[in-house]
């Protein structure tokens, strides 16, 4: 007699674990921005190049995971959260890594050198941006607990505190971004114009990493809204 069973067929594969693994990968990618920035300030181009490759590689891995997860979310699946909301969280997660890759790509591609006056601020800015990504990761880590509690009760409160913290970190990065822009504005006339332009672009892209991390949070918030 063949072994077959349709009772077990009703239990679909939960997307929660893959979502968490994806977010971990994304954060692994983003966190490399810290050593990347250190190497950049030290003008250690070999390390910069090596780290850019790693960032790009991890982003690629996250991309593959994202596609796989999407393939495993058929329409007939009945989940605790809407399929669309879940896919949006996934997209937001993926974009964090995309933006980190952009930052590293532009810097290496143009062999950019940070002006001395903003180097320290930029390094602080990067650290905070990575913090935002980490907070997003911590929050996504609570997904399995949310599933366990059926998105109700004290666990929801816990996640909401985490989301508030994420918002706070992101708004902190905004402040830092404004400060760096201000400093850059003061020295932009002493720089080659193209260099200045692209520096603005890098600063913007760096800020976008934190924005996307916050976006993960705001999409997650939709799970909690009843």
């Amino acid at each position: 007699m063949a072994v077959s069973n349709y009772m077990s067929g009703i239990f679909g594969t939960s997307p929660v674990k893959p979502m968490q693994v994806h977010m971990e990968k994304v954060h692994e990618c983003v966190s490399l921005l810290v050593p990347f920035c250190e190497a950049l300030i030290a003008e250690n181009w070999k390390t910069v190049e090596k780290l850019q490759k790693q960032i790009s590689g991890l982003e690629n891995e996250a991309d593959v995971m994202k596609k796989e997860l999407r393939m495993n979310l058929p329409k007939g699946l009945f989940m605790q959260v809407s399929r669309q909301d879940l896919l949006e969280v996934l997209t937001a997660q993926d974009r964090i890594a995309n933006k980190a890759k952009d930052v590293a790509g532009i810097i290496l591609g143009r062999k950019m050198i940070l002006p001395k006056t903003i180097a320290a601020d930029y390094s602080k800015f990067i650290q905070r941006v990575v913090d935002a990504s980490e907070q997003a990761k911590i929050t996504i880590n609570e997904l399995d607990e949310l599933v366990e509690t059926g998105f109700r009760g004290s666990e929801v409160k816990l996640v909401q505190t985490m989301l508030k913290k994420l918002d706070k970190i992101e708004s902190n990065t905004d402040t830092l971004e404004r400060k760096i822009r201000g400093k850059l504005f003061q020295i932009e006339n002493d720089m080659p114009p193209l260099e200045a332009m692209f520096l603005y672009k890098v600063i913007e892209a760096t800020g976008d990493v934190a924005d996307q991390a916050q976006r993960v949070g705001s999409r997650l918030q939709l799970f909690l809204a009843r």
Binding site: N5, M7, F11, T13, S14, M79, E145
Partner: protein, 421 residues
């Protein structure tokens, strides 16, 4: 009449073999469905599940299986039509057993959704309708049975929803889920013991010759419930908060407490399954034995022989030992996301529904009831992901199994009739 007396031993032996075959098929395949949530939630190892299933399926069949057996035996066919030709009923029941058994074998081999209950009911209705006449079927009773197939998954779903919501309210969604789990889980354990033993006492035991009054029933049910609860509390007390386990998943220790409850519920489920589905195999056997032993008298009100129940129980256990463990391993492997808190709610809801049906004498599909219960938990936002295509499979099993059982039974009926007359 002469045919029956001449071939008495042959009929009894055939009935015994076919009944054993059918029971074996149920044990090999259907039991795994009933135990799916228990094994899937990892509260039990495969070995433990087999052991529990063997013991409680057997107990369920013997202690509470009488009522459904009665329905299969003489509820579906109007015996009055057959008074002058009792041998037709013997052929028919043999054919029905063979048909349902074969269909079970084919369908589970091919991986088609199959319900033992639907096969046997389809087979009996089939041979009665074509082999004897439309008027031979008690359509009122059959309609009632079919209605119960719709009602039972829905009822199980509603109970599961309510149970799981209560688990959320009392335990999972609170500040201290671990402490609350330790506090409230014993009540659930009591509920399992109380409900199952009460239904058994009220409805089942008279078939094994025990008669108790209502007051006694409640007294014994409470006693059994308390006894099981005491055992459960002893185990739960030993469970300590495990910080390392909790680091990754904060509810790991809470689920440990639910695992105790899941074990108790798994016993209840196996008992419920035994009380309802064993009748599919032994109901027809009982009918044949009744006719043969009375020398051809159909209307005779003989009590159910215990050895017939034993055949059913033994067949199920044999099937379980030979093939059931393989199916169970697959089930356990396929269900990865189910935690004991969910598994318990779904299983208890299904077990309660099935035992109630057993008490009322309604043959229902345990698997479909369990699916209904799982969906109920899902509606309470309890399941991460459920695959709704299974519901389509259930409708498929209705559309395919009923006529398939019927057609096979009709063929076997005419073959048997041709051989003996």
């Amino acid at each position: 009449m002469n045919i029956i007396i001449e071939n008495a031993t042959l009929f009894l032996v055939l009935a015994g073999i076919f009944g054993l075959f059918m029971a074996w098929g149920i044990g090999a395949n259907d039991v795994a469905n009933a135990m799916a949530t228990s094994v899937g939630s990892k509260a039990l190892t495969i070995k433990q599940a087999i052991l529990i299933a063997a013991v409680f399926e057997f107990a369920g069949a013997i202690l509470a299986g009488g009522q459904v057996t009665k329905t299969i035996r003489k509820g579906i066919i109007d015996a009055k039509v057959l008074e002058s030709t009792p041998e037709l009923l013997v052929y028919g029941m043999l054919a029905a057993l063979l048909a349902a058994g074969c269909w079970l074998l084919i369908a589970s081999h091919k991986g088609w959704p199959v319900s033992t209950t639907h096969s046997i009911v389809g087979a009996i209705v089939g041979f009665a309708m074509v082999g004897i006449g439309i008027e031979a079927v008690s359509w009122g009773k059959v309609g009632f049975i079919v209605a119960s197939w719709v009602v039972s998954p829905v009822l199980a779903g509603v109970i599961a929803y309510a149970l799981f919501r209560s688990v959320q309210k009392l335990i999972l969604d609170t500040e201290n889920p671990f402490d609350n789990a330790k506090k409230y889980v014993p009540f659930y354990i009591f509920m399992v013991g109380f409900i199952i033993s009460l239904v058994t006492l009220v409805k089942g035991l008279k078939h094994v010759g025990l008669h108790t009054s209502t007051l006694e029933n409640y007294f014994y049910a409470t006693l059994i419930g308390l006894l099981i609860t005491a055992l459960g509390v002893m185990v739960i007390r030993k469970i300590k908060m495990n910080e390392t386990l909790n680091k990754d998943f904060h509810y790991a220790s809470v689920e440990k407490v639910f695992a105790v409850l899941m074990v108790v519920t798994a016993c209840a489920m196996a008992f419920a399954h035994g009380s309802n589905d064993v009748a599919n195999a032994i109901g027809p056997v009982a009918a044949i034995v009744g006719i043969v032993q009375s020398g051809g008298e159909i209307a005779q009100k003989s009590a159910l022989s215990v050895w017939v129940l034993l055949i059913g129980g033994a067949g199920i256990v044999a099937g379980l030992m030979m093939y059931g463990h393989k199916v169970m391993a697959t089930v356990g492997h396929n269900i990865t996301e189910l935690t004991p808190s969910r598994g318990f709610a779904a299983t208890l809801a299904a077990a309660t529904t099935v035992v109630l049906a057993s008490g009322t004498g309604l043959p229902i599909s345990t698997t479909h009831t369990l699916v209904g219960a799982v969906l109920g938990v899902g509606l309470a936002r309890g399941m991460a992901a459920l695959n709704l295509t299974v519901i389509r499979n259930i409708f498929m099993s209705w559309i395919i199994t009923l006529p398939a059982g019927a057609i096979l039974a009709i063929i076997f009926f005419y073959v048997l009739k041709g051989i003996f007359s």
